[in-house]
């Protein structure tokens, strides 16, 4: 679906243009069933090398399940996921996930939490000493290396989770509602922080969220999941200028896109409500 761009003349060239031509992630005919319950069916999405694809949908539509299938944490019932041409059957190297509840180990300090993925990847001690502080600094946690997670606020914990994912220098980042568990202000700060980091080291990113605003802000494309079982209802091209900053939120086209996604999703919510009333 194409939405006419009101101020096309103002549109700047993307600073890091999504290289969609070579798909890093290929999701083909993916379906997941739990017994009689079909979560989603026939999902087809490609994600480019340096592209952020946001997945948005009502709660319980299987967004997170879809992301776990892409990571290889759970097996799809049919269809397949390919990352860099390799079929995913278990988590692959170079793919990192950021978890909704942060997933930090409470018995490890910030340093050791960030080093976790590197250690498992077999990095040498010298490498860890060099890389970990660099990524702690990148996410703005310098000075908190020896803190335990309980000593950090939710936002800081997710910065740590982000550093842990970035430290393995992944080519694919999977974000599972990463900012859903932090307060609204922190959430906004972290969104722009993540966009800034992505500008510095662009990756292929799948960003699952239930916030329409966040999906439009982060995504180069927004995939709308809906229905029962869920399927890809629409893929919306977000032709907003790069880099995305706070000004993006003021862009008239941003409001238009947000309204469009909202209407798409709310149709279903209303229909579901009507069905319940009947």
């Amino acid at each position: 679906m194409n939405i006419p761009h009101p101020i096309a003349a103002e549109r700047k060239e993307p600073s890091a243009s999504p290289a969609r031509a070579n798909a890093r992630i290929r999701v083909q005919g993916l379906a997941k069933r739990y017994g009689a319950l079909e979560v989603f069916r026939n999902v087809n999405v490609d994600v480019g090398d340096r592209e952020i694809v946001a997945i948005v949908g009502p709660s319980g539509c299987g967004k997170t399940t879809l992301l776990r299938c892409i990571d290889g944490l759970i097996a799809p019932s049919s269809g397949k996921v390919e990352i860099s041409g390799v079929e995913v059957t278990a988590p692959l190297p170079g793919v990192a996930m950021v978890f909704q509840q942060f997933g930090l180990f409470p018995w490890k300090t910030v340093f050791n939490n960030v080093a976790y993925g590197l250690r498992l990847a077999g990095a040498s001690k010298a490498e860890i000493r060099e890389r970990v502080p660099r990524f702690i600094k990148l996410v703005g946690l310098a000075g908190f290396e020896d803190a335990y997670p309980y000593q950090l606020s939710g936002g800081m914990q997710q910065r740590c989770g982000l550093a842990r994912a970035l430290a393995i220098e992944p080519s694919v980042l999977l974000m599972d509602e990463p900012f859903a568990a932090v307060d609204a202000q922190t959430r906004e700060i972290l969104q722009f922080e993540l966009l800034r980091i992505w500008e510095v080291r662009p990756t292929s990113m799948v960003f699952v969220t239930h916030s329409i605003e966040e999906a439009v802000l982060m995504g180069h494309r927004v995939v709308v999941l809906k229905g029962r079982p869920a399927g890809v209802f629409e893929i919306i091209e977000v032709d907003l200028p790069h880099p995305r900053t706070r000004e993006t939120l003021m862009h008239p086209h941003f409001a238009q896109l947000r309204e469009h996604v909202w209407t798409t999703l709310m149709d279903e919510a209303r229909a579901a409500e009507l069905q319940l009333q009947r």
Partner: protein, 270 residues
């Protein structure tokens, strides 16, 4: 409001704690118990029955008796050795029960059953295997302690948040790394809770074994002095066991704070 203020203020320490009304009441209750004891023994019991004034009188002689310290060393040595063995064995079995459904199906019933069974009941059997020796005492201590640890560690291993397992899998951790780097540290607080329970049971186990099999140690020291009508001497050893129990509890809670700086600090948030 005032109740809230009290709970927010830091705990009083030193002299002020001793002078607080609750502490005064506690001390008064202690003095009353000792007084009633002294009075009751003087009025109704034979002369050899332990009473506070006699205990104080024999105390210097008993604590300078090398026999008491030798006995204490023998009992505590067995308790520490048995606990160490129980921790290793109990953690291994507990992790297996907590993480491997098949092991849980096979062992859960027996672990619960043996935990509930009084250790005195198995003592005659253990003396059959190990003779009337220190080995029988060690076996009793292990038997008394290990099931508390198995049960707690298996609970801990079951309670590992699934998210931690997912993180480990997502970062391509091997099964062994998941066990040692995720499941085990996550279960350590449960292990320590189990160890607290096991320590008390181990001490009882050691003393009971000494009673039953006449193995040299504090239990036998108490038995021997009681049978030779030295009740006050025996009571010093009883008090020593109580103090050991309290010290062990203290050591464990201090040790927890030192070993697990990340644990039980929820109150520090916000």
């Amino acid at each position: 409001m005032s109740a809230q203020d009290a709970s927010l203020s830091p705990p009083r320490s030193g002299l002020r704690a001793w002078l607080s009304p609750e502490a005064t009441a506690r001390i008064a209750a202690g003095i009353a118990i000792v007084a009633i004891w002294e009075l009751a023994v003087r009025l109704w019991a034979p002369a050899f029955v332990a009473r506070p004034s006699r205990i104080v009188a024999v105390f210097p002689a008993v604590v300078t008796d090398p026999g008491l310290w030798l006995a204490a060393g023998q009992t505590l040595g067995a308790v520490v050795q048995g606990l160490a063995f129980a921790v290793v064995l109990g953690t291994t079995i507990g992790l297996a029960i907590g993480r491997v459904p098949a092991v849980e199906r096979f062992l859960q019933l027996y672990v619960s059953g043996l935990f509930a069974m009084p250790m005195v009941a198995i003592l005659p059997l253990l003396t059959l295997f190990f003779g009337y020796t220190g080995d029988a005492r060690l076996a009793t201590v292990v038997f008394a302690a290990v099931f508390a640890i198995i049960i707690n560690v298996s609970d801990g291993a079951r309670a590992v948040p699934p998210e931690y397992i997912e993180v480990s899998r997502s970062f391509r951790g091997s099964g062994w790394s998941r066990l040692f780097d995720v499941v085990l540290p996550s279960s350590v607080p449960y292990l320590i809770a189990g160890l607290k329970l096991a320590a008390g049971r181990a001490l009882i186990g050691a003393v009971v074994a000494e009673f039953y099999a006449a193995i040299p140690g504090l239990g036998y020291y108490i038995l021997y002095n009681t049978r030779t009508f030295k009740h006050s001497e025996a009571f010093v050893a009883v008090a020593m066991l109580a103090i050991v129990g309290v010290l062990f509890e203290l050591l464990l809670s201090r040790g927890t704070r030192w070993l697990l700086p990340w644990y039980r600090r929820d109150e520090a948030r916000d």
